[in-house]
Symmetry: C2
DNA sequence: TATATTTTTTAGGTTTGCCTAAATTTTAAT
DNA sequence: ATTAAAATTTAGGCAAACCTAAAAAATATA
């Protein structure tokens, strides 16, 4: 499987959640920063290989074999992201681009050994689940802080906004991956929340609570 | 720089030691398992980019800029080999092919962090020196086992032959980096040597003793 | 030295993955 | 329902990196 085929499969997998009845060439090419004509071409090739189901003008859907292939690439991507964040000093916003390259390295042994080396992690640094060797994904309850109620407790697993101003804010407030967030109260009028993190109480605006993901 | 350009530069660098007055397209294409015509094509491109000096029919030589580029790739290759051997459970004969892929990942930060993570190693698992960020290589006093005499003691620091059959042989015989080799005797007629490694005596053929490097 | 052999280059072709522009189909609007 | 707009596909091209076969140059041999 070529670099490009892998990227298309991975993209179709990602876009399928939002487009369950078929990913259009338009959507796909926008996502991959190519042109619709290029997407059509590749989709036809993947269809001939039996990895996707393609009906002209109706978009594309992954077949089981295609989904398994996509999940293998996603597994590699997330293991590499975990490596970069946990073993090397990469920050949240730096890991994606490098993992995007590393995910295409072809070696089953490498990925098995990497998994072992990392201690068989279940989630990547963004909180997304890492598929196992067969492509099984553990579904996880990922919620925004804004969806929690007073008394709830969540573990920070990621963010929705990677602007440096937001990441700086998180840094200043000592909010990081793994931070345990206790919801104390919610202000009715502006939906801001009082929370406790590491024995410190602080107030988060609605904007902030909508951009922080937690595992409950 | 493309994947392919990088491979050509690395190969020219490796072949230059044996062909100091110019690497021919024939030699280069054999090394890379392509055809001479393909080598000519690529060499012309690298010449236009100012990385090599090419005279038709006279072979190719790296310019300084080309050598620096080659050494950067070699640095990446050797750091990845060190990672695979030291951090993951890869054996000598398994690391080369995977490192061959990993060496093309583009990220300065990645390679700096990897270097740090590995503790700034000076040599890779084969005993070859790892160039620094500027492309400087430390030369080392290394001898072949075949150059030693009975009574001499050497510490294994590398090999000359990276064929998987040879590396597998070393693995089976428990000969690895750091192994202390005592020379017991040399057979006059075939130059084979009886040596002691870890309290085990074994016989090494001349071929083998010429491919194992030691620090004395 | 002249010829034969080998090496290298040139010329033209293939595949992959991208592109633009034109044609077609689907969807939306009147 | 018909027409206008948008999305999709087809057709024809381009660049990279490979190839084969033929031409040209260098080297070896008689």
């Amino acid at each position: 499987m070529t670099f490009s085929e892998e990227n298309y499969l991975k993209s179709i997998y990602a876009l399928q959640k939002e487009h369950p009845k078929g990913v259009s060439t338009n959507v796909l090419s926008k996502y991959l920063d190519t042109k619709p004509a290029s997407a059509t071409e590749m989709i036809k090739k993947l269809d001939e290989k039996g990895l996707v189901h393609y009906q002209p003008y109706q978009g594309v859907i992954l077949k089981d074999s295609g989904a398994v292939s996509a999940l293998k690439i996603i597994r590699k991507h997330r293991l590499w992201e975990t490596f970069l964040a946990n073993k090397l000093d990469f920050s949240w916003d730096e890991i994606h681009d490098v993992a995007e390259q590393l995910e295409h390295i072809k070696s089953d042994k490498l990925i098995r050994e990497l998994d072992k080396f990392l201690g068989y992690p279940k989630h990547d640094p963004h909180g997304d689940p890492i598929p196992d060797e067969e492509g099984n994904v553990v579904k996880m309850e990922k919620k925004r802080v804004s969806q929690l109620n007073p008394g709830d407790i969540g573990t920070c697993i990621g963010v929705n906004d990677t602007s440096s101003s937001f990441l700086q804010f998180l840094d200043q407030q000592n909010i990081r991956l793994g931070s345990v967030i206790h919801i104390l109260s919610v202000q009715e009028f502006d939906k801001s929340m009082t929370v406790r993190i590491d024995d410190r109480e602080l107030l988060l605006s609605q904007i902030a609570t909508e951009h922080i993901y937690v595992r409950v």
